[in-house]
């Protein structure tokens, strides 16, 4: 199968974040960036599908400045065959603007499947996958936690509140990938070296107009400190009383 995976470069989720001087973006000083977790699940799904189904091609796409090349090479060191950078100085916040650039690039590419992360850790927008599918006129399944392809048709599972939903679709299709679907492999040392020799093409991103922008960012309030109300069984009545009257969870 010919599979495209659209990936994003995001900061390590365990970082300590500060708001930058603009007030509308995080301060990137000292942050470590890597492939977004959901995007890495999508890459793993693509690699496993092509490993299982025989010869195919996995192509990874990312939009952004030259720093995304590292993320694209990471995907190639996991096993993707080639990569395309859609170059822009900054990734716009507006998911539709990004989707337009991806759709312009992917149109006519002959892909059987186009995979995305369900959303990216930094913006949690969840727009790019569905909007790209819409622009390309493709069937779209969001937040797939399982994906099987056979005879030109696909089956995906989605996790609902308290239930699982199984959906069917015809290829080609665009799928956004949820966590738990596959554990992303870490690249072997030989594959890290091999990725340097795989093709990475850079083209200008044909972004759509950005019509949504971040007005301001704020950090969550500090968590109030915990309180020790006593020890053992003796503390239970007071704990129950506070859960009733103060926390109001009972």
């Amino acid at each position: 199968m010919k599979i495209a995976v659209c990936i994003k470069r995001t900061p390590d989720s365990e970082s300590r974040f500060r708001i930058g001087s603009s007030g509308t973006a995080i301060d990137e000083t000292g942050l470590k960036f890597d492939i977004d977790d959901f995007a890495s699940y999508a890459v793993e799904v693509a690699l496993q599908l092509n490993e299982k189904q025989g010869p195919g091609e996995t192509v990874v796409y990312a939009i952004g400045p030259d720093s995304v090349q590292e993320t694209l090479r990471k995907a190639m060191s996991m096993g993707a065959d080639r990569a395309v950078q859609l170059k822009t100085d900054a990734v716009p916040y507006d998911g539709l603007a990004v989707a337009k650039a991806l759709a312009a690039e992917l149109k006519g590419g002959g892909f059987d499947l186009i995979l995305f992360g369900k959303h990216a850790f930094d913006t949690s927008g969840g727009i790019v996958g569905t909007a790209t599918a819409q622009l390309l006129g493709l069937a779209c399944v969001t937040a797939a936690s399982k994906l099987d392809i056979a005879n030109g048709r696909g089956t995906a599972r989605r996790e609902l509140e308290g239930a699982g939903e199984i959906v069917e679709f015809a290829l080609p299709a665009a799928i956004t990938i949820d966590e738990g679907i596959a554990r992303p492999r870490y690249p072997s040392l030989k594959n890290i070296m091999a990725a340097k020799k795989k093709p990475l093409e850079t083209k200008p991103a044909q972004l759509g107009p950005a019509r949504v922008r971040v007005k301001s960012l704020e950090l969550p309030p500090d968590r109030p400190p915990g309180r020790i109300i006593g020890e053992g069984v003796a503390a239970v009545p007071e704990l129950v009383r506070l859960l009733h009257t103060e926390a109001k969870v009972l």
Partner: protein, 390 residues
């Protein structure tokens, strides 16, 4: 992992990628089992093929022999991450790569390279390195193991080697022996000895209180008959095994940083969550000083090894510089591990935490591959021109 000095900015993308993969490997396959292995005194053999798949064995040797062809900084980062897991796991990889594969690469014939290196990179052949003897540790030139060439070109090997990492696991041993009755160290040659040869015995070293998750053995050779092509043709004199040790010591200088980083991270995390006198112990000055000292020494050691790696890649490093790095970094790690253990209080003596395991392991690392004291004398000679050994 805290990168207080933004040392990552001195690493290439490829070097960081290599570290990330080995770090993920250690998190997944070493850390969950190593405490139990250590208590049981068992080397986790099950990770040998997984490390091969990852490509850690001889990772700085060329790709044409099935190796990853990495530079020496990337190789050092592998050692750092493995020892963040356990010194025994790093020792396994050091011995396989720097002490068994390297001599075959450096002193072997093309046939020997092709015969052994790809299978060793794949973890199908495990190697060990026999230099130290029961009575000759810091002075290997006094070794008494002897190989005598027979009329038909074969060799007859007699002697014993001690403190051999991987000795009971290995399929081949790179054994250093004097030759043909010549007791001078210029007669020392290297031999690739299959461990299933008649007359070859490996006995586990029992009763270790350090490197418990590592195989350590005594090797005995009684009239072991070796084919002519067991000889590493380009080996000659004590310099050959010492060249191997320079490779391994370089990796150890990085490995020790990994052990220290593990201890520091554990102590830092514990200091923020352990409540005593109604507040986290990390808020007390005495623990902050401990943490500040650990952090400072780790950063210094990282910069020493990184620069040494760049010199090694440029082909300009000296064995004396390796002595400085091994001596400093291992000593630093023993201090960091001990202070981390103390910060952890009573919990610090449990196998559930890593500080005491690292502390015990590092006493071996302090002693092997040139003791701390021997490296002092190497450096003393380097700066004074006066040889304390003679």
């Amino acid at each position: 992992m805290l990168d207080f000095f933004n040392i990552d900015s001195l690493l290439s993308e490829e070097e960081r990628a290599v570290r990330a993969s080995v770090r993920a490997f250690v998190d997944e396959h070493v850390l969950p089992v190593i405490g139990k292995c250590y208590v049981e005194g068992r080397f986790p053999r099950e990770i040998v093929p997984k490390m091969a798949e990852l490509g850690v064995y001889g990772a700085n040797l060329p790709e044409e022999y099935g190796c990853a062809g990495l530079n020496n900084v990337a190789y050092g980062l592998i050692m750092q991450e493995l020892e963040r897991g356990d010194s025994g796991v790093r020792s396994f990889a050091s011995v396989q790569g720097a002490l068994a594969m390297y001599p075959i690469y450096a002193f072997g014939s093309e046939e020997q390279r092709k015969k052994y290196l790809p299978k060793m990179a794949a973890g199908e052949i495990i190697g060990c390195f026999g230099l130290t003897e029961p009575d000759y540790g810091s002075n290997p030139s006094g070794m008494i193991t002897m190989a005598r060439e027979q009329k038909d070109g074969t060799w007859l090997l007699n002697g014993a080697k001690m403190w051999i990492t991987n000795g009971s696991t290995a399929q081949i041993a790179v054994v250093w022996a004097k030759t043909n009755g010549d007791t001078s160290d210029s007669s020392i040659r290297g031999f690739v000895v299959p461990t299933n040869s008649n007359g070859f015995k490996a006995k586990d070293q029992k009763g270790k209180l350090s490197l418990r998750a590592s195989d350590t053995s005594e090797l005995v050779f009684q009239d072991v008959c070796l084919p002519a092509d067991a000889l590493l043709p380009k080996s000659g004199g004590l310099k050959s095994p010492l060249m191997c040790l320079t490779q391994a010591r370089y990796g150890i200088s990085w490995g020790a940083i990994g052990a220290a980083m593990a201890c520091f991270e554990e102590a830092l995390s514990y200091s923020k969550t352990r409540i005593m006198f109604d507040r986290p112990i990390g808020g007390f000055q005495i623990q902050q000083e401990r943490l500040a000292d650990m952090l400072t020494e780790i950063v210094k050691a990282q910069l020493v090894s990184l620069h040494l790696g760049r010199l090694k890649d440029a082909g300009t490093f000296t064995p004396q510089q390796v002595s400085l790095a091994k001596r400093n970094n291992v000593s630093m790690a023993t201090d960091v591990a001990r202070e981390a253990r103390r910060l952890l209080g009573a919990n610090g003596i449990l196998a559930e935490y890593s500080a005491m395991r690292h502390m015990e392991n590092l006493e071996s690392v302090y002693t092997y591959e040139g003791t701390h004291d021997v490296h002092s004398l190497v450096l003393g000679q380097a700066v004074t021109g006066l040889n304390a050994f003679k």
